[in-house]
């Protein structure tokens, strides 16, 4: 077995806990979209072309309210702007890959593969490019396939799907689970607390812009605390 295949399988395994949340999420999206009057091809179009749960739900919500097409598009894209930060953050690791491979990775750059890969690449900096790509796709592809399949399942079941099972809480729990093991330094802790508090305070801003501001400030807090800790150590 090649090292990159081994990393692919590790990625598949590390991604397993997320299926618990992604499967019902996809099925609920499919069901709500079908109930709102979209046909199966349109529902699948959303999940296959976007793979972005919260942005898809936002678009659906606005379409149900008969919002103008331009508003639907701009608002749903704004909800997903954090992916631009993911793109910047993963570039030092995957930037040397061929263009088509990078394009495929970009297509799959949704929350879970980004989060797990970032953690992995920070903990194991000695991984080669092909190992990093193997791990990233190992996380991203199976969860993506689950996203497609369960969207279809939900769309076909339609109104026989229960839609309020507390799932809107399950997704943030998995995000907390990913970052908790990272909170091992003062800088990481300061960054995470800043992000949580500011995101709450700025939640009133439109189109999820509060989240972006909170995250950007938290980046500087993390890097700033890291620099400060290094300086203190150097002085001793």
């Amino acid at each position: 077995m090649s090292p990159s295949t081994r990393q692919f399988l590790t990625g598949v395994r590390d991604g397993l806990p997320f299926h618990i949340v992604i499967w019902p999420f996809a099925a609920i999206f499919g069901a709500i979209a079908a109930q709102a009057g979209l046909n199966v091809a349109q529902v699948m179009g959303f999940s296959v072309l976007m793979i972005a749960g919260s942005a898809q739900l936002t678009a659906l919500q606005l379409m149900t309210e008969q919002a103008p097409t331009v508003i639907v598009i701009l608002t749903a894209l704004a909800v997903n702007l954090r992916a631009g930060m993911y793109s910047a953050s993963i570039t030092p690791h995957l930037g040397k890959a061929p263009l088509l491979t990078r394009a495929f990775a970009a297509y799959l750059l949704y929350d879970q593969p980004f989060a797990l890969s970032s953690v992995k690449f920070e903990e194991e900096p000695e991984l080669s490019l092909s190992e990093k790509l193997g791990y990233f796709f190992g996380v991203a592809i199976p969860i993506g396939l689950g996203w497609y399949a369960m969207t279809l399942f939900g769309a076909l079941l339609g109104d026989r799907m229960p839609s309020d099972i507390g799932l809107e809480f399950a997704v943030p729990i998995t995000f907390l689970a990913v970052i908790a093991p990272l909170l091992k330094s003062l800088a990481h802790l300061a960054s995470a607390v800043t992000a949580m508090v500011l995101a709450l305070v700025l939640d009133v801003l439109p189109f999820g812009t509060g989240l972006l501001v909170a995250a950007c400030v938290a980046l500087f807090v993390g890097a700033g605390v890291e620099t400060w800790v290094e300086k203190r150590k150097a002085r001793r």
Binding site: L38, M63, I90, Y107, A180, A192, G222
Partner: protein
């Protein structure tokens, strides 16, 4: 119900597909293998720990019908504590969601 016609719906789906891809491709596509300055790398290392809590916190504490329910706050706290303690994403998820759906089921029965 959505009243938009089929053409409008497909226009939205295709624009969102292209737009989502371009956001994700931005730096990966344009920067590629050009080296980034050290200060940028230092900032970007904090992306997961800055973005994910910012997404999660309004969902846990924020507005909405289930905002800041004691059960949810306890589950969120347990997830973080187990995650820090075991250093395992899996156990953190099992603890947080297990308590949430387990206790949730018990509370609904009573």
């Amino acid at each position: 119900m959505i009243e938009a016609d089929s053409g409008e719906i497909w226009a939205i789906i295709i624009c969102l597909g292209i737009g989502t891809f371009l956001i994700r491709f931005s730096f990966l596509g344009l920067v590629g293998d050009r080296p980034l300055p050290g200060w940028a790398l230092r900032l970007l290392r904090y992306t997961p720990v800055a973005v994910l809590p910012a997404v999660a916190s309004p969902m846990i504490f924020g507005s909405g019908e289930h905002a800041a329910e004691p059960l949810r706050l306890v589950c969120a706290a347990l997830t973080v504590i187990v995650g820090i303690w075991t250093r395992s994403v899996l156990w953190a998820i099992v603890a947080g969601l297990g308590l949430f759906f387990g206790l949730g089921a018990i509370l609904q029965l009573s």
